[in-house]
Subunit: 110 residues, 2 copies
DNA sequence: CACTTCCGTAAGCCATAGCTAACCGTAAGC
DNA sequence: GCTTACGGTTAGCTATGGCTTACGGAAGTG
């Protein structure tokens, strides 16, 4: 259920901005906060959520922490999406070919 | 900003269950609700959100509506994730090769 | 034409999540 | 040693969002 926390983390617009900002390269917390519409503590909180979801990682450099995107969480999210992508696309193609056919699952339960 | 609504839609656990349930094949609202821990109107509300995010589509069949996964929203989400995936993976590989190198972005602003 | 089934919508309630302000620890500089 | 920069944590407020109950409308059935 790791993809759940990733989806939840990326759902918030501000937090997604933090993440997208890191997509352009690693950055310190202060630099990250500067240019975002929220206070620095808020950015820290967002980073915590993103870190727990495996979406970012930190490197300490003196007194500052350099955050970067962590491929691990991204990989899990990608795998989850792909799983639906394949089957959905298959179903879509099948429906285009046979617009009025139900495979086998027709009939009311109860 | 279409991927935003998709991420927001899939963030909620119950709504994600609805979506995942549709991953196994199209289903009516009643069937969908039966087996989920919430009431049928709640499922309807979730389906509305998913539909507005382009993640599901409906086919009317008499008085019942058959919902299925819509590839469109999924495609947009996939594209967004992949965009980060590529650059993050590149950066990751680069860091493994040169663990203590900063490309060019070092120096304090302000 | 009742009557039933299926489902979307509205109103209202309550828990959660994001924000700010204040505080504290840690590392560097003098 | 003191002081400053950096950033994580807490407390408390408010808004958002998901849930249920109640209602209404549309399509099949007799």
């Amino acid at each position: 259920m790791a993809y759940g926390s990733a989806l939840q983390a990326l759902a918030d617009p501000t937090r997604r901005q933090v993440f997208e900002r890191l997509g352009k390269g690693p950055m310190s917390v202060g630099r990250l906060a500067h240019g975002l519409p929220v206070s620095r503590p808020a950015v820290s909180q967002h980073l915590k959520v993103l870190k727990e979801a495996g979406l970012v990682a930190e490197d300490r450099e003196g007194t500052r922490r350099i955050y970067r995107i962590d491929p691990h969480g991204l990989a899990r999210l990608r795998a989850w999406v792909d799983q639906f992508w394949e089957t959905a696309l298959d179903a879509f193609k099948a429906q285009v070919e046979q617009p009025d056919e139900q495979p086998d699952d027709e009939g009311n339960s109860k």
